[in-house]
Symmetry: C2
Subunit: 305 residues, 2 copies
Amino acid sequence: MIGIENIASYIPPRRISNYGRKEKFSITDEFIEDKIGVKEVSVKGQDEDTCELCVKAYSALAAKRQMVPDEIDALVVVTQNPDYNIPHCSAIVHGRLGLRSSCAAFDISLGCSGFVYALSVLSSFMERNGMRRALLFTSDPYSKVVDQEDKNTSLLFGDAAAVTMLSNTPVLAPMKFSFGTTGSHYEDLICRNGKLFMNGRAVFNFTAKVIPDDIRFLMELNGMTKDNIDLFVFHQGSKIIVDTLAKKLEIPPGKVAYNALDFGNTISSSIPIILEEELKGSANTILISGFGVGLSWASTILRRV
Amino acid sequence: MIGIENIASYIPPRRISNYGRKEKFSITDEFIEDKIGVKEVSVKGQDEDTCELCVKAYSALAAKRQMVPDEIDALVVVTQNPDYNIPHCSAIVHGRLGLRSSCAAFDISLGCSGFVYALSVLSSFMERNGMRRALLFTSDPYSKVVDQEDKNTSLLFGDAAAVTMLSNTPVLAPMKFSFGTTGSHYEDLICRNGKLFMNGRAVFNFTAKVIPDDIRFLMELNGMTKDNIDLFVFHQGSKIIVDTLAKKLEIPPGKVAYNALDFGNTISSSIPIILEEELKGSANTILISGFGVGLSWASTILRRV
């Protein structure tokens, strides 16, 4: 059985404060703290490209656990902000980490649903190909495409990367997954000519409508109810979306994670950044759900092994 | 068991002749026919984006087999020339084909090794998630990034897309796979500022060195020798690379496929375009091997069910 053995992350130290932009965008403290739930966003250094963020997350992992490059059977990078379109980031990271030539490597292009999707894709791939250890990177620095004059996006998205080590000696193992796509709404979150555009209301409405049903379906698929779930980790889209999902699903606030206040919505890294803390926590069942660009969503339940 | 049930492809009708560029690039008929093995390259229309090529390949599939959109459980697009980086092409294609919302969709970023990789990734994902039918698109129109003044690339790459239907009632099913990466050589084939650069000699040398060993390893992994393989389908990088691999592996010419003369190297579509013909052929065992950008490679043996 393949699952999550370890997680490390890298959040760049530089911050842009949303309090400093109250006048510019005509926003209040209440908007910052309770609605979007982001006091400041993390921003990568100019010399930190998408692959470099991965390498820094890997260094954080190596500080927790002795890394043996030759033990890595596969490497995946989830990103929609690659350093080049040709080649894939996973090849570049493979080279920088000095992994062996029989290591498989590919990128998955997905946004906020990417971690949950990739957990299924990579663990299935490993099981089928008899692999024991793999690295799942999420690195999607939206500062590359965010227009600092755009209120809808600049207050929200933060840069970060995470690396999740999947192995046959997991701490948290996934149960059954659910997946979904509404491709006809792809223009609600899109990058054209290097500039990100988001129809915030449309994405919010989509999420509030689709995700509660998906999560009910997922729990039924796994023969569980919300009472069996110790912790709900939704993608940290904004505080209002996390609160809305919790309310619609009637989950007590204490069972819902939120941690984006000090760095923002880090796309596919938002869920592993929370799970990194929970690895040593007490929750035995954790429901994770990612949703966003595509529009796309994926959910599963992690069980402590 | 998940494998290949059907394949269809779309090669745009427009061609640029390499004979018409003999003077410009100081090349001979012998160079065109025997070395690169490409008389003319296919070029997509200006209105044909990467997703549109997928939709046209799907139309070709629908002409062969009645398609029921609600039967599709998953959709993958393999590309490094997406129409947008955000969102992924698979979401756009999902919308254009009117697939159901519980259909999974993601893109894989890989080049010439992409079809073989994705065959493993998607079939593993389907098996693990209990899915029965999925569409694997390859669509990587290099005309978007090829500099028509560059002899190393403009004579070689052709536009095309293919769609491979994976299902639990396959005609050809994959045996074990091998995968590899030499990420330290990623700059040998790279797109910078929208322009493709290829160190042709380095990519050739890498392929001629690494792939024969990989194929020997793969055959051993599957308990087979070259005498058990009816047909070898190498990525159609150029005629000289296919001939070199056949010679190094001492494979009789009649057992090695080559079909790129009239449209060129179509990246991740080169293997499925050949397999489309072989689905109704007599070969019981077909070795497929893709290699290129990354640098990356993947190989497997397909067995007729």
